[in-house]
């Protein structure tokens, strides 16, 4: 259910060794980035003038920005002129024609994860139409949403169909000036999801990009905007446990959440983009800006399980604007091989009686680097604000790194902030106990690591949680010893 079939076209079985592999075809823009690129993208999407102007403003500003250097990650400079910023949806006939043409290693992983056969084909980028044989399911789904008044569509469609909402909210939480990657995304964003839940409506089902047909080729600069009107409730699922291949190495997505008075948004992510090979070659750079604003009595909850990508740079954040707003961040980040992750959150307390909870579990194995970076900011007006942060790192082996960089800023004497961080390894005595009870070492480690992550997993929607556990188990294979 939660496999993200919507992204199937992006997942081609590509040779990462070659680096930036972009097929240049008639419908694909040649590499390079200038104002004309931005105009071209906007024109191809038949966007209104105001959106073009917004993109151009973003682009001009982005040109004045410098690439961020503060994260605890290292990679060669990115040549933004060597990237193609637009490619038309893939047609059947491209990519591998059948599973026989797909890397057997990838297929074995799918098997271990228990992914159904037809989904494996989709994930591996096999060009088949059959994946949408469940059109009737999708139709039922759409009917149900329409009945509730929920809008769930590609953002490009929303620009045409609901311009007033897009104009009002796009860039309202993550302005293009915010950071380098958000600026870039604002100029060249490809597509993404738009969700609007009307006042008082409880969205009748969990929204997953799985159901969003027409979501093909959202591209590397995905843009998502979710607006939960007063008193509404929505749970959104993104990603996929299966390793996803993508021909684009750089991903710079932006996600904006707006929870109006009394609304609740729960946003769950499982990220398993291609991490690169054992030597760290290839692999996705996942530079994501995710932020929500919670108005009075609203609640925003981010849950993420990050196991993929060569480099992860993301800090799903909440601005606790209104009184009594609640922000949550639950994260598991597992790095192995040569992966690097610098991830965490920002909880910005503005309103009175605002509360935030941060639970971060970082697991680092082999030669990976895993950093938690988080900000808790208590503004002067945030009377009685509360934060609790628990930040635990687990190291597997003596060649990896686990780091914690919390920033705690308070300007209100009635606020309470508690931050705790620990570092541990899988204990020799824990391993011995498990083995003495008959478990093999790999099973023992995966069980101990799953236990370590439990606090986060239980925040995930049920089927995601089960998959996440399995995902850890598969990811840890070979990492122990």
């Amino acid at each position: 259910m939660s496999k993200n079939l919507g992204q199937l076209d992006r997942m081609v079985h590509g040779a990462y060794e070659a680096g930036w592999t972009t097929d240049i075809e008639s419908d694909t823009l040649a590499p390079g980035l200038n104002e004309d690129t931005v105009r071209f993208i906007s024109a191809r999407k038949q966007e209104p003038e105001w959106l073009l102007q917004w993109r151009l403003k973003a682009f001009r500003h982005w040109q004045t920005m410098v690439h961020p250097e503060w994260a605890h990650v290292h990679y060669p400079p990115i040549d933004y002129q060597s990237i193609s910023y637009y490619s038309a949806p893939r047609r059947p006939g491209e990519g591998p024609q059948s599973l026989d043409e797909v890397d057997p290693e990838l297929l074995r992983t799918y098997e271990k994860l228990g992914i159904p056969l037809h989904e494996r084909a989709a994930l591996a980028g096999v060009a088949v139409d059959a994946v949408f044989d469940s059109v009737s399911v999708v139709t039922t789904f759409k009917d149900k949403l329409a009945e509730a008044g929920v809008i769930f569509c590609p953002i490009s469609e929303a620009v045409r169909e609901h311009p007033e909402l897009i104009r009002k909210y796009l860039g309202s939480v993550v302005p293009f000036r915010d950071n380098f990657f958000a600026g870039l995304n604002s100029a060249v964003f490809s597509d993404g999801s738009f969700v609007y839940v009307p006042k008082g409506v409880r969205c009748p089902m969990e929204l997953s990009t799985y159901f969003r047909i027409n979501a093909r080729n959202t591209g590397q600069f995905e843009r998502t905007l979710i607006v939960a009107d007063e008193g509404s409730h929505v749970s959104y699922l993104e990603g996929c446990t299966a390793p996803q291949r993508d021909e684009n190495q750089l991903h710079a997505a932006v996600v904006e959440l707006i929870a109006l008075k009394g609304a609740e948004i729960k946003y769950s992510t499982v990220q398993n983009w291609y991490p690169g090979d054992a030597e760290g070659r290839g692999g996705i750079y996942n530079f994501v800006t995710k932020r929500g604003i919670a108005h009075e009595n609203a609640k925003i909850s981010w849950t993420q399980v990050e196991t993929g990508s060569a480099i992860t740079w993301k800090y799903p954040s909440v601005i606790l604007q209104g009184d009594n707003a609640v922000g949550e961040f639950y994260s598991v980040a597992l790095t192995r091989g040569m992966q690097q992750a610098d991830t965490g959150t920002k909880m910005v307390h503005v309103g009175r009686n605002t509360r935030s909870t941060i639970v971060s579990k970082g697991i680092s194995a082999m030669r990976a680097e895993n950093s938690y970076r988080g900000l808790v900011h208590i503004g002067a007006g945030a009377e009685n604000a509360r934060n609790h942060t628990q930040c635990d790192s687990l190291l597997i082996g003596d060649r990896c790194g686990a780091h914690t960089f919390p920033y705690i800023e308070s300007r209100n004497p009635s606020a309470t902030v508690e931050h705790e961080a620990t570092t541990s390894k899988v204990g020799d005595d824990q391993l011995f106990l498990c083995r003495q009870r008959g478990l093999d070492p790999e099973k023992a480690v995966s069980m101990i690591v799953n236990g370590f992550c439990k606090q986060v997993f239980r925040e995930l929607p049920m089927e995601f949680a089960v998959e996440a556990g399995k995902l850890l188990e598969v990811s840890l294979e070979g990492a122990v010893g």
Binding site: L433, Q436, R437, G438, L439, K443, M447, N450, G451, K454
Partner: protein, 249 residues
């Protein structure tokens, strides 16, 4: 069932066991007693295959196989069970989950079919009830926040579920009050059978009032100093360990 011959073992290059001989047959319960530092827990750890305990000489034969050649989990699957003196906490892993994984590993090695979730639950609940443990206890993390007595009863619970051939109880009686001791002893007695052997490592003879051993061995300075019946334990209780040493000298 178990034959230990001239066993020498070191911990961090310090010799602890210095030529230990011991033979245990199926159906027998042996108590190993001795003063602190005599090597009792080292013997238990060596039998289970714990890292950091190096066997420098001697052999251990278990059911006709070379026990020392087996990995920790292989010994466990072959029916060697160690009840830990200090049971380990594994945060986040529920007791239930752990017991099930362990039982599956051991049963599948024996060629027995896996229990269904319902069968397992029934078994786990029944066994906890037998040890007077609240079923809620199965949902908690392995030994996480358990009291000393609960941890020890949890060890016995695991033992009863796994039905080992050779159970080694390493000071399972320490830190237990009389009521808990009775419960633990009942559990151990329930396991006694002609096919099984039990080694009880203990400092005090108190446990032996509840689980009556077939033989008692006194371990001192890495060797069995004396073996005898139940009465040897009582004699130790009365006279302490000193007289044995003097005797030996």
């Amino acid at each position: 069932m178990l034959k230990i011959t001239n066993l020498h073992a070191t911990v961090a290059d310090t010799p602890i066991l210095k030529g230990l001989n011991l033979e245990i047959n199926a159906g027998e319960v042996h108590a190993i007693m001795g003063p602190n530092g005599s090597g009792k827990s080292t013997l238990a750890a060596v039998l289970a295959g714990r890292d950091g305990y190096e066997v420098t000489a001697g052999s251990i034969e278990y059911l006709g196989r070379d026990l020392l050649a087996l990995a920790v989990e292989e010994r466990a699957r072959a029916g060697v069970f160690l009840a830990f003196q200090y049971p380990v906490e594994i945060p986040g892993v529920s007791n239930m989950e752990f017991l099930r994984a362990s039982l599956e590993a051991v049963r599948s090695h024996r060629g027995e079919p896996n229990l269904s979730a319902v069968e397992f639950m029934k078994l786990a609940r029944a066994t906890s009830a037998q040890l007077q443990l609240d079923p809620e206890f199965l949902k908690r993390g392995v030994n996480e926040g358990f009291s000393g007595g609960e941890k020890k009863r949890n060890e016995i619970l695991q033992m009863l579920l796994l039905q080992p051939n050779l159970a080694i109880l390493d000071e399972t009686d320490s830190g237990l009050d009389i009521d808990a001791l009775q419960v633990v002893a009942d559990g151990v007695n329930a396991l006694r059978s002609p096919e099984r052997a039990i080694i009880m490592v203990t400092h005090y003879q108190r446990l032996l009032d509840y689980v009556v051993p077939d033989q008692v061995h006194v371990l001192a300075d890495g060797r069995i100093l004396r073996s005898g019946g139940r009465e040897l334990a009582l004699e130790l209780e009365a006279k302490g360990y000193g007289w044995l040493r003097d005797d030996a000298a």
